[in-house]
Amino acid sequence: MSTDLPAGLPPVRVAFYNDPKVRSIAYQVALCVAVGFLIYEAASNAITNLERAHIASGFGFWHNTAGFDISQTLIEYSAQASTYGRAFWVGLLNTLLVAGLGVVFATILGFIIGIARLSKNWLVSKAATGYVETIRNIPLLLQLLFWYNAVLKTLPEMRDSYKIPGGIVLNNRGLFLPNPILGPGFYWVVIAFVAGIAASIVFYIWARKRQEQTGQQAPVFTTAFGLIIGLSILVLIAAGFPLSFGFPQAGRFNISGGMEVLPEFAALLFGLSIYTAAFIAEVVRAGILAVSRGQTEAAYSLGMRPQPTLRLIVVPQAMRVIIPPLTSQYLNLTKNSSLAVAIGYPDLVQVFTGTVLNQTGQAVEVVAITMAVYLTISLATSLLMNIYNSRIALVER
């Protein structure tokens, strides 16, 4: 500030309200007070309004008996014994299940299509372009209804179920798979499985070191496969096969026993994965195009083939561009899973802001809890992705 002033003069005194530091603090305090006042006003207003209208309030409903059934429950739940709180957890787990699997499938599909769109093969790249342009320009809700009806209409009724060898049954009530029943000695297999994974990691580190030092490659994938799967199977046989399967049985109306994949779940997972994959494909394409052409050319001139070039040179650099927008796609997918309500999949919104809200009538509490949950899921996803992002970010020296 004072650099233009001739030396020797006393520094100019600035009034405290013109001091930028004081000002910025004052503005922030004012903002905090305003926001706090708004929240206080909203809360006290809500409480008086609710009281005046004789609408029950508070979180006491959490421990009341739910009394309604839910079609898919990952934890134990029954209409007569479980509470609204339990119903909340059932809904939340259903949301996390479909969002988690959706993220995995959408990522795999999105990477394949994004790379395919850059393929030199005319047919492959045009097909990928067609996929992206069609899928991302049709509203997701319509796609979900389409998949749900496609699933229901094409599958046969109970009586004419498709029977797939291995005890698998498929009809318009869902896909029924044999469920494993674990015997008493099964924990040995679990130990072997974990030991296999640990051994594989050790082998991977050793193989990498050796390659760095000598250039010799080791068959990491085959070894790991043998260590994890092979060892587990050997132990399974040695322990006397403590594993049996419960097969789906046809009853008068429905199939009982075994594992059940509901058509609503399948349709939602399909719809979400396919829709989000179109966006991820574009993110991946943009990321790859952002890596300068010279990188690929340099790799080729070193004698690398196209596939390792992509895997070892291009994709790792592209990831830096891909991760931030990919995070928002994951967040979108999670939030979009609330469209489940349209096709009868019991996710958090369907169970909690649907049935529970209606039975208790406590809209403010239920909506607030639901918003908090989605916020938490989204922030957790962001956090994980940011950690990953900072790990792979360009290290500047």
Binding site: N45, N49, A56, F68, N149, K153, S338, G354, N358, G361
Partner: protein, 337 residues
């Protein structure tokens, strides 16, 4: 749907007290129209046709209320509501009255901030199945998949019924009746359950109505009636007496056709009812001829019933319990005096 709930929640949070301290009657009169929350997808109770003209039992109730308050049955704005959004819409003031085949239960009356006006249809929950299933009783449905609409007493009764009879059920819950029926029609469920009146109405909308039957069991009491917000007793009274006027008109033998002749009647009951004697309309805060306006607009309860769900409607539902108390039913209204 989510938006409506979120908006309504916001409305509850942010509505200033002074704005909602105004009485509903004054608000309706100032606005010049009645906001009526109705079904929108249920034939016989509330359904707009291709021209946007609403018909149904609940719709006629709202028209009667508009006739009583504003003197014109057409000054009603119908707001279609799903089962799960309906209470929030009433609580937040989006509608003045909720006439949407809603079951009167203790918890709804006490903890939702509503007051039920009375019963305009005595119903009970039933099941619809395909004839091909060869099921003759709901007690044979052990292990069946049942499609149901969310946010209804139906959802709870269904669990109770199967639990009480030690039977297994697989419930598939949908946000709206439309989606639930569609899924049932596509074979996702063995049975569809809702109030018996609703079953008859939905059955007619299926592609092959003859392939489906309604099982004889009625598994619950479903007294359906309109509701208003808690805390405005004047509006509550008006809504109550609109319903009673419909029922009393039938009892007095007053119809849409003969209402003008009735004005000259010497019968004191009729004279009080039509307002040629006493000031019963003013006591309610309405015009002297409020009841005449109601009957002129939609007829008496019997006419409303027959036109929408009874003998002269496509649904052809027997009046059963919904006959007047002196004709073998349980429909009864306090007298105007």
């Amino acid at each position: 749907m989510k938006k409506i709930i979120a908006l309504a929640a916001l409305a509850i949070v942010f509505t200033a007290q002074s704005a909602s301290a105004q009485t509903t009657l004054k608000a309706v009169k100032d606005r010049g129209s009645l906001n009526c929350g109705s079904n929108g997808t249920l034939a016989g109770f509330g359904l707009p046709d291709a021209q946007g003209k609403w018909t149904g039992l609940d719709v006629d109730y709202c028209k009667a209320l508009a006739a009583a308050v504003l003197g014109d049955p057409n000054k009603v704005k119908f707001v279609p509501l799903s089962a799960k959004d309906r209470f929030t819409a009433l609580q937040s003031g989006e509608v003045d009255v909720l006439a949407r085949n809603t079951t009167w239960t203790s918890s709804r009356d006490t903890s939702l901030g509503l007051n039920f006006v009375g019963v305009d249809y005595y119903d009970g929950q039933g099941f619809m199945v395909r004839k091909a299933l060869k099921v003759n009783s709901a007690l044979e449905l052990n292990g069946a998949s049942v499609c149901v609409q969310q946010g209804t007493t139906t959802e709870l009764n269904l669990s109770d019924f199967f639990r009480a009879h030690n039977m297994q059920v697989k419930t598939v819950t949908f946000a709206t009746a439309n989606e639930a029926v569609k899924a049932y029609d596509a074979g996702r469920c063995d049975a569809y359950t809702t109030d018996a009146s609703g079953l008859y109405a939905e059955r007619l909308r299926l592609a092959n109505a003859d392939e489906h039957i309604v099982l004889p069991e009625v598994i619950s009491k479903e007294p359906l009636g309109p509701a208003v917000r808690h805390g405005d007793d004047q509006w509550f009274d008006i809504a109550k007496w609109t319903l009673f006027a419909l029922i009393n008109a039938e009892e007095l033998g007053m119809t849409q056709k003969n209402v003008d002749e009735m004005l000259k009647s010497a019968n004191p009951d009729v004279k009080r009812f039509v307002g040629t004697e006493g000031n019963y309309g003013e006591q309610l805060g309405l015009a002297k001829d409020w009841a005449v306006q109601i009957v002129k607009a939609v007829g008496n309860y019997g006419e409303v019933f027959d036109r929408n769900v009874g003998a002269t409607s496509p649904l052809k539902i027997d009046r059963g319990l919904n006959k007047l108390w002196n004709k073998g039913g349980i429909v009864y209204a306090p007298p105007v005096r």
